[in-house]
Amino acid sequence: MLGSIVNGIILGSIITLGGLGISYILLIQNYFNFTGGTFFTLGAYLAFAFLSIIPMGSFPVVSFGPGLILALILSMIVLAIIMTAVDKFLYQPLRKRNSPFMFFYLTAFGMLFVLRSLIYLIWGPQLKNYISGVRKTYHLAGGINISPDEIFVVLATLIIVGIVYYFQYYTKLGKAMLATANDSRLAEISGIKNKHVHTTVTIIAGVLTATAGVFYGLAIQLRPIMGFTLLMAMFFAVVCGGDGAILGTLGAGLIIGITQEFGSEILQVIFDSTGIPIEMSGYKQVLAFLLLIVILTTKPHGIFQGTFLER
């Protein structure tokens, strides 16, 4: 059981990063980016493609080397460029025309299918890994099995969240983004160029989404629907974390990660003991959805809004 909680923390870290990418788009551009999950997958596969030409090398303790870090950086750059181009050519014209938000959602849905088809076309449906062979794993008390790579994912996520938090609340550009989210017209007459803010937000979302995708590939594996299966959990992190709340997204990300892993294990035990033939690992998204409904009913403004966690 403790093992599933640890797995939940690892998954929650990845959900947090992906959720933050979606959260930034929601905060500034006011729509749920359904393509977020597929961009997440694309980020992971881009790093996989770069690793085919970059030697992995090795670091002590963890199973990957500097090659993966370089591939991650390149993936961040390329994904940020792709997301900025999509924003410029698809969403910017919609914003200019003050189009109804349904248009944004439909565009995001369309992009989701286009990107997913492209990923299948280029990399195929087979599972892939950044690292081949057996990875080192620590076997701890309470049935906890954790690899140095997974510890890296959790620690790196905490550091990234810290950096994003500092950027958001303590830098001029971060505050300008909040100002634009609060009142874009007033921001514009205060000298904050909305166009620049939108581009900055898209780049940040690209960087966070690529990182989340690569971390998932590192901690678990690569598959074409990896981002899509986490989409509901990422939405949970965004909605239940509170609009644009960074630490709130982290808290909600960890909650949904643990709920999915721990909850599915508990339910599996129950179903096994009652003889109901259900494989719970395939229904983790249902748990995310159920929890989302519960939170939206009881705490519609998010779990952490107004708490000490967010300024």
């Binding site: 001029k172 909040l178 609060n182 017209r185 007033l186 007459i189 000298g191 160029k193």
Partner: protein, 238 residues
């Protein structure tokens, strides 16, 4: 530029929203160091005129000159860097942000010493210094207007445009806010263009324009404006 020279010139501007024109061939001038008021009844086009000057609205006809430069159709953020700061009637503060963050955002493009600007503002509106960490959406109406004006003057503008800054305030607060605006004109050498619907604002100004149904119909020094029976009867109930 010397005091008294023309700083803003709006020439034959027609503007509106979508297919509907609200302003028709409106022309006004503001000289450096002046306090000019634009008055008129609801729906006269006062806010539309200010939005057009600040670039929020693009005029369909006419031009806006500032310090001799044609700024017609420029983006508001570019117009701000030219030295025009606009404080709208509504949506004039970032309600989700703290008072301090609002002031910082007001100085987003300012390259001078921000602390000097803050000191000047705290001297003008001491209450804001006590509320720095407070979320601005929780401020009282008067404090909100003080913050809105402060946000507008953080960049030390050459021309400050205020759209009904005393709207909805108690009479004693109206006097306080107008006194502060006069201090900005006198002590900070700021040129003021103010939209007003209350007659209290008129005596404070040097000159005024009367706007009706999108047209400038009268322009005069404020004492003449106040003596005009038509103005008083039509727009302020005698």
């Amino acid at each position: 530029m010397n005091k008294g020279e023309k700083i803003l010139e709006v020439k034959d501007v027609t503007a509106g929203y979508g297919p509907v024109d609200v302003l028709f061939d409106a022309s006004i001038e503001v000289n450096k160091g002046e306090f000019v008021v634009v008055i008129g009844p609801n729906g006269a086009g006062k806010t539309t005129l200010m939005r057009t000057i600040d670039g929020v609205l693009k005029p369909k006809k006419g031009k806006v000159m500032f310090n001799g430069e044609n700024i017609t159709g420029m983006d508001p953020s570019d117009i701000l860097t030219k030295g025009i700061s606009y404080v709208p009637q509504e949506g004039n503060i970032f309600t989700d942000m703290s008072v301090m963050d609002n002031l910082e955002m007001g100085a987003y493009t300012y390259e001078g010493d921000i602390q000097e600007r803050l000191d000047m503002i705290f001297d003008l509106f001491p209450i804001l210094k006590e509320r720095l960490k407070q979320t601005s959406g929780n401020l009282s109406g008067g404090q909100r207007q003080m913050l809105a004006i402060s946000r507008g003057i953080m960049i030390d503008p050459s021309l400050l445009i205020l759209d009904e800054p005393t709207s909805g305030l108690q009479p004693n607060l109206v006097t306080d806010v107008l006194d502060s605006i006069l201090r900005l004109q006198e002590e900070e050498d700021m040129t003021i263009l103010l939209v007003a619907q209350t007659e209290q604002a008129i005596p404070a100004a040097d000159r005024g324009y009367l706007l009706r149904s999108g047209e400038i119909i009268f322009e005069a020094p404020t004492d003449t404006l106040l003596d005009n029976d038509q103005v008083m009867n039509l727009y302020f109930g005698g």
